[in-house]
Assembly symmetry: C3
């Protein structure tokens, strides 16, 4: 019950299997290290032209290549520092396996919201299940 | 004085009137149930190819169809739980009227900021009016 | 050590030098007034069709023109109100110089996260340097 959604930004022109592998590996890391259920998967991928995606190639932990991905996770509840760090490491490891990203090319930002700032559907706040959906 | 802005993500290929109805109904719900002035309307609509918009069809309150919309509201001040829930319900109801979305196809996430984390224009923080704009 | 990233939304069809000037001037304001290192530059520019970018032309500090930009800064640590306001003013001033935006056409929103909600690369949390990257 953790409801993150991920916004993944990368340079335009990557083949579809590359993009799919980025999305898959990122979600695998969320499941394995961030307490996210397997089916709790919501991802937006934004492919940007070079003039639309400006990133410093060297600032902190570079160098970054054209494979650079900026991942923004909007999370539904806070995680402690150890969990966050484990997630970062797992994400880098899995993305290194597929599609083969270099560790330097993975930047992650997490924004934290509260559980009842989410409605998954039917106008119901949070993850309260088993109640009739008010608006259906 | 509430300054939200909304980022609406949906699958590419919807007709313009469908998209407009989504935006209109969502804003109507913000006005009626979230304390947003009618003219305080700022919306970004992102139409995504299927491989750019990955969402689980069944996780919590599904099933979701190709009409699924993910709405991310960045709000300028906190609302209480009752207000948020009333807004979710109103949004689902209005989106059900036009363009006719199923309740299961409406996911909403709210991020909360502080009032003076906004500048509507002219370099002026928050909603302080009546002062000369410093940079004009 | 401040790690913001900026998401800049504007209407589609602007010439490349216009877009570049928006990005450059905004970053210059972050550096000069928001405590951001020159090389700490990460920007996403989203060019939107008119039906994808709905903004009220007059609400608070308008009127807004087709040059309107909505800038969303995701910051890595809180700033005090004076810093934020100085940044707003600086941004409007620099964007007025290049590409020549009117003050009314600059809207800024800041979301604040915590330092260790960021990983710049290599799976390392925050800005801790000098340690071996765990996943490399």
């Amino acid at each position: 019950m953790t409801m993150p959604y991920a916004r993944i930004s990368l340079l335009k022109g990557k083949p579809a299997p590359h993009i799919r592998a980025v999305a898959d590996s990122l979600h695998r890391a969320l499941v394995d290290a961030f307490g996210v259920p397997l089916k709790d998967r919501f991802q937006i991928i934004q492919s940007l032209a070079p003039e639309e995606f400006i990133f410093d190639r060297d600032y902190l932990f570079g160098p970054r290549s054209d494979d650079f991905v900026l991942v923004h996770i909007t999370a539904g509840r806070p995680r402690d520092a150890a969990t966050r760090e484990a997630f970062y490491q797992r994400a880098v490891a899995y993305l290194g396996e597929a599609p083969g990203l270099r560790p330097e090319d993975v930047m992650i930002v997490i924004s934290t919201t509260q559980t009842d700032e989410w409605s998954f559907g039917c106008g119901v706040a949070g993850v309260l299940g088993g109640r009739p959906a008010p608006a259906s």
